[in-house]
Symmetry: C2
Subunit: 441 residues, 2 copies
């Protein structure tokens, strides 16, 4: 272990303990903070360019750096990471991308991000750090008057969700959760089909993060340095938003409907230990680790309008990648992996390809920007489109596609799943982070 790793580990350990204490005492009915003004539908001030800093320039942060750098009118003025070399590497990438002035570097300490957030020439702070530091950094940056874009999951506890909402409302700054999957080609296309009524009245959806991360979790670099530790003391859905975000869009969550009740159940935990025992030496210190998190976690969410969502999480077992991405109603059903659709009256009893629907229902954003998005890569282009849209909203002065209430509600599904599991799969109520505004649409 080098010094950087040790420092990060200590930070994580402290933060993890603090987070756990929060989870244990978190009430899903935590009262809203007094004296705050809603940011529901609040528009950005329009601007010519978007000046940003990026906190966390590891794997994910570097990918975001590349994508933001490709968006017109973006200036990446500052980079922050505990590890200075990562910032230096980011500077070089920005230079190659054509940025003339080098980004300033903030590095070396767990608190380096503070100086970045205190700059007076930034509009936006992007946060791509380990999960446990998302909220402290986002809150600090908003209090410095910056809008923030925070990686998923934005928050790990219900208290943290409220903290994001409260801070966004107190500061009038947006906290956009960087949920790239909401910008996936199929997701945006299917959302248009939903809006056109092809599936009729919506009844249920399916969402998941099923991704065999075993080799990444046991890697000696990158996410392997911290992500496995999330499995030590947490048991639930650690990563709910990739699947849930798109389904929340289909169902107009926070804009006509809302998550109301959740129950969650976890399986036994055995896959990580099984993998570890066949992939590490007998004297590897990781042999002493205990993994609390059940390999498979499945939650059920009921919305205020009675829709049912199945939400799954499994990053420990051998399986092909799957976000489920299912939406069904009185007139039809779509499910992904592979993308297939069945509409009432189409004839036969088989799913058919989604392809015939592409011409009519492709998202205008994909029609307009799909070519460059695909060229840049980043999960097939969705990453670029997410970055592009955030900048577009800020430049044009619209509300963001995904606001702090979405960040809180989608992240809360994970936090509440842990509490439900700890209570023997007891049903829990979701907080209404919008405080009733979801009904006004």
């Amino acid at each position: 272990m080098n010094d950087n790793t040790t420092t990060r580990r200590n930070l994580l350990r402290m933060a993890s303990l603090a987070g756990l204490a929060g989870a244990a005492s978190a009430s899903p009915q935590a009262p809203p903070r007094p004296g705050s003004a809603s940011v529901y539908g609040l528009k950005f001030q329009p601007r010519e360019k978007v000046r940003m800093g990026i906190v966390g320039v590891g794997g994910r942060g570097t990918s975001l750096l590349d994508n933001f750098a490709a968006v017109e009118s973006v200036e990446i003025r500052a980079l922050c990471d505990i590890v200075r070399e990562k910032c230096v590497r980011g500077q070089a990438r920005l230079a190659r991308a054509g940025q003339t002035a080098p980004a300033e570097i903030y590095a070396g300490s767990d608190h380096s991000f503070e100086a970045l957030a205190q700059r007076d020439d930034l509009d936006l702070v992007i946060i791509a750090t380990p999960w446990i530091s998302h909220v402290p950094i986002a809150v600090f940056a908003m209090k410095q008057g910056k809008h923030v874009g925070v990686e998923v999951p934005a928050a790990r506890t219900v208290e943290e969700c409220w903290e994001l909402v409260g801070t966004s409302e107190q500061t009038g700054r947006h906290c956009m959760q960087l949920e790239n999957c909401c910008y996936g080609y199929n997701e945006m296309l299917v959302w248009n089909m939903v809006k056109a009524g092809l599936f009729g009245e919506l009844i249920h959806g399916g969402a998941a993060y099923l991704h065999d991360l075993r080799s990444i979790l046991f890697s000696n670099e990158g996410e392997g340095l911290w992500r496995r530790e999330e499995h030590f003391r947490r048991n639930g859905n650690l990563y709910p938003t990739h699947g849930l975000g798109p389904v929340a869009h289909y169902m107009d969550i926070n804009r006509g409907d809302r998550f109301q009740t959740i129950v969650s159940m976890s399986s036994l935990s055995t896959s990580l230990a099984s993998y570890r025992d066949t992939h590490t030496a007998p004297d590897d210190p990781r042999r002493k680790e205990k993994y609390l998190c059940g390999d498979q976690n499945t939650s059920l969410i009921r919305t205020a309008r009675g829709r049912l969502i199945r939400l799954e999480h499994n990053v420990s077992s051998p399986q092909p990648y799957d976000r489920i991405n299912l939406i069904a109603g009185t007139k039809g059903i779509f499910k992904d992996y592979p993308p297939l659709v069945y509409l009432d009256g189409q004839g036969g009893e088989e799913f058919v390809s989604l392809d015939p629907y592409k011409q009519r229902f492709e998202a205008p954003l994909w029609t307009r920007m799909g070519e460059i998005a695909r060229k840049l890569g980043g999960h097939g282009g969705m990453d670029f489109l997410m970055c592009y849209r955030l900048v577009e909203c800020m430049r044009q002065g619209t509300a963001p596609d995904i606001d702090v209430y979405d960040a809180a509600a989608w992240s809360a599904a994970g936090a509440l799943s842990e509490i439900s599991v700890a209570k023997g799969s007891a049903p829990l109520e979701f907080p209404d982070f919008t405080r009733g505004r979801w009904q006004r649409v």
Copy 2:
């Protein structure tokens, strides 16, 4: 409506009210009946031939008649149905199948089955009536010393489950639930793969009955005469066993593991009303019907060994047929519709066809009897194999593949789902119908 329909409707209405009262008061911890001897693992007395009567000769009963008639050493000596013509039709089919002596007919009344069950020359009574009469007929027949094979779901309430168990134990007669899906080609093949350890330690499974029954439910004949009514006052999983039976086999439920906890959630109910409103005349009396049952019901079951099962039910929405039939462990995953498998280390990140596994893992029963089974049809041959196996067990004097404890546990998933839904998705404990014997294997 003809007289037969009216009679049946009245019976159903009375029985439905009785059933509901049962569900409301049913405790999942209902005490076992005293003085009973377990039938766990109890072997049939071996016999040369199997003499049987069939109660209910509608669509399903006629299919069972055809399949049992094709099994060597079976004598179908008696047929019962409220509607005499159905028995007469059954007689003719038996004659065409080569049965020399005609089956005696018991018809005309809700109590006609009693005289059939009281005959002293029957070994087995097959019950293929509307769900609501399964338990009363099965209990009566066992008390007359007959083994019974009862269609799915065997029971609709937890009290009914206990009644089946108690009666089977008091009489020493077996109550086999006729779960044909346990004899499906893929199900039996995958079970062999599970037993060979290909999926490693099991973690989770998936089971469902997703079947667009709208036209059948609104038919003016067959199941349309009674099955829609199940949706009037019940809200949960009305039909759990087709998906759950095979997964229970994979997981050795009642033979090393058991269902322990369940939570269940239902969506809104809108699909049946929506279908009805576009497929019936404005003055159709069914326009006044209210459907309580949520279109989509999803339950989560945790086993004593920590495995997690997802169990879905939807017969009201447009969708392709799907029983999910998923099993996953530390080394791989199988899911059905279409049948695909992924084993750790196979290379790539895609599911592959189940076909390459057929040579090594095909069930001997299918190798031996598959050709005749496929020729007879009946859900691809599984129906014949189920009938064949029950007769084989009775002739050879082994225990049945599926006993009263399986009938109770699998059916209880449906009954408990209703209670959980009524309690806002509260977690409920499964009764241990085996009274601890599941651990002895």
